[in-house]
Symmetry: C2
Subunit: 413 residues, 2 copies
Amino acid sequence: MNAEIITIGDEILIGQIVDTNSQWIGQQLNKIGVSVHQITSIQDDQQHILNALKEAQERVGIVIITGGLGPTKDDITKKTIAAFFNDDKMIEYPEVLLHIKALFKKINHPFKEVQIAQASLPSKATLLMNHFGTAPGMWFYENKTVFISLPGVPYEMKGLITNEVLPRIQKQFKLPHIIHKTIMTYGQGESRIAEKIEDFENNLPPHIKLAYLPSFGRVRLRLSAKGVHKENLEKELDCKINELYELIPEIITGVEDTNSLEKRVGELLTKANKTIATAESVTGGKIASALVSVPGASYYFKGSIVAYTAETKINLLGVSKETIDSQSVVSKQVAIEMARGVKQKLQTNYAIAVTGNAGPTSDHNSKGVGTVYIAFISDEQETVQEFNFGQPREKVINKTVSKSLEILRKEIL
Amino acid sequence: MNAEIITIGDEILIGQIVDTNSQWIGQQLNKIGVSVHQITSIQDDQQHILNALKEAQERVGIVIITGGLGPTKDDITKKTIAAFFNDDKMIEYPEVLLHIKALFKKINHPFKEVQIAQASLPSKATLLMNHFGTAPGMWFYENKTVFISLPGVPYEMKGLITNEVLPRIQKQFKLPHIIHKTIMTYGQGESRIAEKIEDFENNLPPHIKLAYLPSFGRVRLRLSAKGVHKENLEKELDCKINELYELIPEIITGVEDTNSLEKRVGELLTKANKTIATAESVTGGKIASALVSVPGASYYFKGSIVAYTAETKINLLGVSKETIDSQSVVSKQVAIEMARGVKQKLQTNYAIAVTGNAGPTSDHNSKGVGTVYIAFISDEQETVQEFNFGQPREKVINKTVSKSLEILRKEIL
């Protein structure tokens, strides 16, 4: 079964916001065996919406529309969908009206006339109750195509997808399984890898696809399989992954975890009953905030010292002024001393520290833009590694965070 | 002039990555007066790409295609575009081949046969030299439509858009100006605002559009104008904004800065020659990393203490154990003591501190999930505010960061 996602709203087209809704919906649909054929972002314009609905209907069996369901004049999705279904008439749902009034009462806002229309839906719609907001979701089934209209507010959309849309799709359609597994490689470009696995790639069965995802010195190889038997697909993919391990053993660094690195680090620390702290310069607290993004982080993460100036490194982390003067603030020795300082101050089992130059200018130290040192220390050992993450600034910072988490995972294992 | 953006790659459709390229391209096109009519994400599939090109050609004058230009089998954009232009033949560009070989030499990777094809382009293409990677950009002009094909790697795409695509579009077309101004309001829902400005909205001229952008208790009102004379448009929008100030003075909190909040805070601090530090609990260093994302942050940002446990708050920030025991770790008094502690330790002019409970559980303190305290102190004053940012965890953390930056901007002003 194929689906299309249509997002309605000028704010996406003018670049005022990033469309993260579609990514999330794509992930959820994949998990239940629905492939996303296309994602289309269109304007708040009646004719444009009508065209998009018509085109999508010709291509796929499931059309998910987000956005444009608010009570104001620029929100025209509902009346446009009614027009699309042969000028369907509106029906008021008393239970929705009660729900909206209750929401307004809860936040102590006076209920307004203009909200009444929120409780009316085209007669062909099946109501999908939105417990987190005023705009109900809608489900239509016409000419063997399901149309689902949802509000664009992320947490309202997510609630409706999880509680209403996915179970209904699973009930309506017999769905295959779709499985993705991604191998991480490091150190060779995609063209070189492609040469080495040419036969492997040519001999893949039609229901397994290979994709190369290059980024900054590493290439991820994604294998996607689609079929009826989930267990068979899993086995087939594992087989293919083993073949890859034999073909390019020297560059594979592992199978991508469906969990984020920070979540994996959290699991390892919780299991080992160990604690950690970070000392950060160039990343400005971004490693700490990645760790904290995981619920329950307070069991293992004690804190961080973000020492952005030499002065702060000396005063708060106890880095020696002599080290900074002789080695420069971006150096192996400073990274190690930062790690020692934070580990001692926060009394943890592990500590990770980073110092580097993210640019754009290479001002107050002798190391070039992109140079980063990452130190990891435990009760037993101290290690420090040098990297050059190039440019621009944003890339250096992000690469430092992900490399630090990778080092953490590896060392804690 | 209208444009469409077509992004090619299964990784977007399965939700493996977020399509941030389209947002950035949308912003850049808007700045030179090009409206984005539609953004379409499609599969690495020849027929799908051909259909998308054909449909876009019928709708707009500029089609920008990103992705699918790598050297591996799953990258089929170039040969598909050649097929689209009546099976155009390929021509090798020696200067591109030299450039690719030089790139490989620079990173010390052996040059591979499969890369040679990267240096060939359809004969109808104008070469857009990609200085940051191996896949050249391409520019076609056929039947009054411009087609531009670019690599999907963000920094390669950005380099080509900035240096090659935008100047060529400006040369090729006579473009209008597009201006957006966004008013920020707080404390009333969109339906209530819509009632109050109904006449204003009904009387807007056709070249000015109004959009409501609600999120978490605030509604942004975006006015967009399109026309020939930039100065006149600016004046018209300023006029309309003044009208709004008269209609809903009690809820407008300002005009949205096109700069990010952290950049604005950085400018204010640099200008005032003042320094700042943060003490963070619930945000885990995210306020610090937002500040650090701005180049030159080391001139005013000294560092941060991320104190994620009560113990760290006491040992590193000097929060009194009595305060924590009597008021709980999520309290006004703890926020204030954290701010005092970091300001004193890092010797700054300003400090901001946050403590809160992001959930999902309300474990080791008495305050409910979503409760956050933000304290700001300077040499002259101390303030602390209480917020409830609801759920889920991610929202609480992000709202705390943006509210902290808002408070910083306001207080430093």
